[in-house]
Amino acid sequence: MKSSEKHTITALVEDRAGVLNRISSMFRRRGYNISSLAVGKSESAGLSRMTFVVDGDAKTVEMVVKNLHKLVEVIKVADISEENAVSRELALIRVKCDVATRSEIMQIVDIFRAKIVDVSQDTLIVEVTGNEDKVNSLVDLLDTFGVFEVMRTGTVAMSRGASFEQDKSANSPRILENAS
């Protein structure tokens, strides 16, 4: 196992002014790297769900989870990277395009099950959904034609099956006391 790798962490948080600030401040202060962050409303009113993709070794990720737990407005945290999870990201890619390259681009877009959502004289906007690797590959391929602009949402993730995020009190002993 690589010592530094990407981990996906999800958190259920209170939807209040300043919560995002509090969380990002914790990451900054403790020197943890967020490679992507996505926030949106959850199934419950007043609660948001966040997905973080974090770079770091197992210890770093454990500390990230613990420090997220520690924030008063964070209700549940889960490190779902090792579980079987569905993770998706949406990207919009503005790519250079002319009559000569259009059909080739459309073929690539098809293979990736992406969509062309806007066409102009010499550009196309491609919409793609998939995990981070898939989006990366498409961006790389399209870059051979000239990519002008990329807009990505960051990964959102959910574990498969019936395993939910556990709440704080249940989660902390599991994480900590497995350490021995």
Binding site: A17, N21, K66, K70, L71, E177, A179, S180
Partner: protein, 564 residues
């Protein structure tokens, strides 16, 4: 009943058991101050600087175990509190701070004295609130007290715009706490507790390192029971000092950068470290990758994020030290470790560390030792930061729990004046000695006015070496005695300064006067400042340079060392 926001603040504070507030008024918080006369149960102590208010609240909180409360106005009033807030955060001290904010409709417009104090204090508080409606005040203050003083304590700031203080709302008692994301775990995992007890039962060379958590959870009896039952030597951290009586045979000092050498060596030689409510700070571990490699480790702490942070541990237990120990002790088998205890006696003899050289000079250490003797180890000792702090910790022999107040995590110079004031307010009948540096004392000495005004009988012992002594020591050892910006050649006459505040001043220049001066200070009814003109270039030993190991320790130079 219809009430104003300001009245709700006062009633909420009273409901939480608060009866003392430290602070300074100003525009944004004025409506709150104007409500105070209606609430005689809230004693307001007017400090001379807001840093004095937050540090006094810290001293008050450490002594009472209740949150210390401070008020300040928006902008500069609030920012002046920050050093005290950060000090409390680093040392897990419960504070509830109420700041005034500009009118709610001007927030964000750079209004006069507007400062984003919730933003500024975000990384140095356990939590903070901006309350935008008077009907949320009662619940916010209730939550603030709960968060401040449960789990791992810490400061909580409640920022309230001026108009919210004057807003009138139908007042209701706050309901149940609504903090779904906050549920500290106190009980500890039973399986882990058994595992820990097994490790203790198997150990031949166990040692306890007792931290501030033992004091916070008042686990004194449980600690003593564990130590005595299995004959385990007890080392404390700097903030753990006084949690175990220092005249007990099992007391084994405190370790680390300036701790007793034998304590550091005991940890090094142990086969089991039982860490209670402490956090393996770098002042103790030096180089964490080389710290105590011969031992297994049990770590009990209420804050899960402390576990595994600095040191990998074998048996972590998340829980309140008192609760966990009381359960763990039942599984611990009575034992004696005669050869281990004998080994520690040898370490004590080989590395005395508490030796005071025979000399006619006035040494700062001697002053501490004499205060210790004169007060029979029963005073509350408050220090600043620097050499005098280390000597206070080394040479005062604490007999009573929770009697050593020092800024350990943050190292806040100036702590010695306001925190001593807060400690005296907290326990008016106690003997409070502030062991002060001439540097730190000058950072907060404006609070002498507050002390005089409130007739607080704090005794100050300024260990006046005419230097920022600890920094001078580093310059001597690591920079070839190049004393850049550390000599205090313009110190005031502290005796006359005290007298200017109406406080008794005594000067001591000779070793033979020390005991009489201490006795005279203690006989005096009110506050006293004793200016001890001590040796200027004395060093604190032992010393483990930062990031190094016990084997890199610099001990007191040989001529002054007692050998056996």
């Amino acid at each position: 009943m219809i009430k104003k926001g300001s009245q709700i603040v006062c009633e909420s504070l009273l409901r939480e058991g608060c009866n003392v507030v430290f602070g300074i008024p100003g525009g944004a918080i004025l409506p709150l101050y104007q409500a105070l006369p209606e609430y005689p149960g809230l004693r307001h102590i007017l400090t001379r600087h807001e840093q004095g208010a937050s540090l006094a609240a810290d001293g008050y909180a450490r002594v009472t175990g209740k949150p210390g409360v401070a008020f300040a106005t928006s902008g500069p009033g609030a920012t002046n509190l920050v050093t005290g807030i950060a000090t409390a955060q680093m040392d897990s001290v419960p504070l509830v701070i109420v700041t005034g904010q500009v009118n709610s409709w001007t927030i964000g417009s750079d209004a006069f004295q507007e400062t984003d104090i919730t933003g500024i204090t975000l990384p140095v508080t356990k939590h903070n609130f901006l309350v935008m409606d008077a009907s949320d005040i009662a619940s916010s203050i209730k939550e603030a007290f709960h968060i401040a003083n449960t789990g791992r304590p810490g400061p909580v700031l409640v920022d309230i715009p001026r108009d919210v203080f004057v807003q009138e709302v139908e007042y209701e008692e706050p309901g149940e706490l609504n903090l779904p994301g906050y549920s500290p775990n106190f009980s500890g995992h039973s399986g882990q507790i058994r595992k820990a007890a097994n490790l203790i039962n198997e150990s031949e060379k166990p040692v306890i390192i007792a931290g501030h958590g033992v004091i916070i959870s008042k686990a004194y009896d449980e600690l003593k029971e564990l130590a005595e039952k299995a004959q385990i030597p007890v080392i404390t951290t700097l903030l753990g000092i006084s949690c175990f009586p220092e005249d007990h045979v099992l007391w084994t000092g405190w370790p680390g950068m300036h701790g007793m050498a034998y304590s550091s060596f005991t940890i090094e030689e142990a086969d089991l470290v039982i860490a209670l409510g402490m956090r393996f700070d770098d002042r103790i571990t030096g180089n964490p990758s080389k710290f105590a490699l011969n031992s297994k480790k049990i770590h009990i702490d209420v804050d899960p994020s402390e576990i595994g942070k600095n040191i990998a541990v074998d048996v972590p237990i998340v829980g309140d030290v008192k609760e966990v120990l009381s359960r763990m002790n039942t599984h611990v088998v009575a034992a004696t470790h005669p050869s281990w205890l004998k080994r520690i006696d040898v370490l004590k003899k080989d590395h005395p560390s508490l030796n005071i050289p025979e000399t006619s000079k006035l040494l700062a250490r001697q002053v501490v030792k004499d205060i210790s003797d004169e007060t029979k180890g029963g005073a509350t000792i408050v220090t600043g930061v620097g050499q005098h702090q280390m000597w206070a910790a080394q040479h005062y022999r604490f007999k009573k729990p929770c009697t050593f107040l020092t800024s350990g995590g943050s190292g806040t110079m100036g702590y010695e004046v306001p925190a001593a004031m807060g400690a005296q307010v907290a326990d008016p009948d106690s003997t409070v000695w502030s062991i002060a540096g001439d540097g730190g004392f000058q950072m907060t000495l404006c609070e002498l006015a507050t002390i005089a005004e409130n007739k607080l009988p704090v005794k100050f012992a300024i260990l006046n070496n005419g230097f920022l002594g600890m920094v001078r020591q580093w310059q001597e050892i690591f920079f070839d005695s190049s004393y850049v910006s550390t000599a205090y050649t313009g110190n005031p006459d502290f005796v006359r300064l005290a007298e200017a505040y109406g406080i008794k001043g005594i000067r001591v220049t000779d070793k033979t006067q020390v005991k009489t001066a201490i006795a005279e200070a203690m006989d005096h009814d009110g506050p006293v400042v004793v200016d001890f003109i001590v040796e200027q270039e004395e060093n604190v030993y032992p010393m483990i340079p930062s990031g190094m190991t016990v084997y890199d320790m610099i001990e007191e130079p040989v001529p002054e060392k007692v050998t056996t």
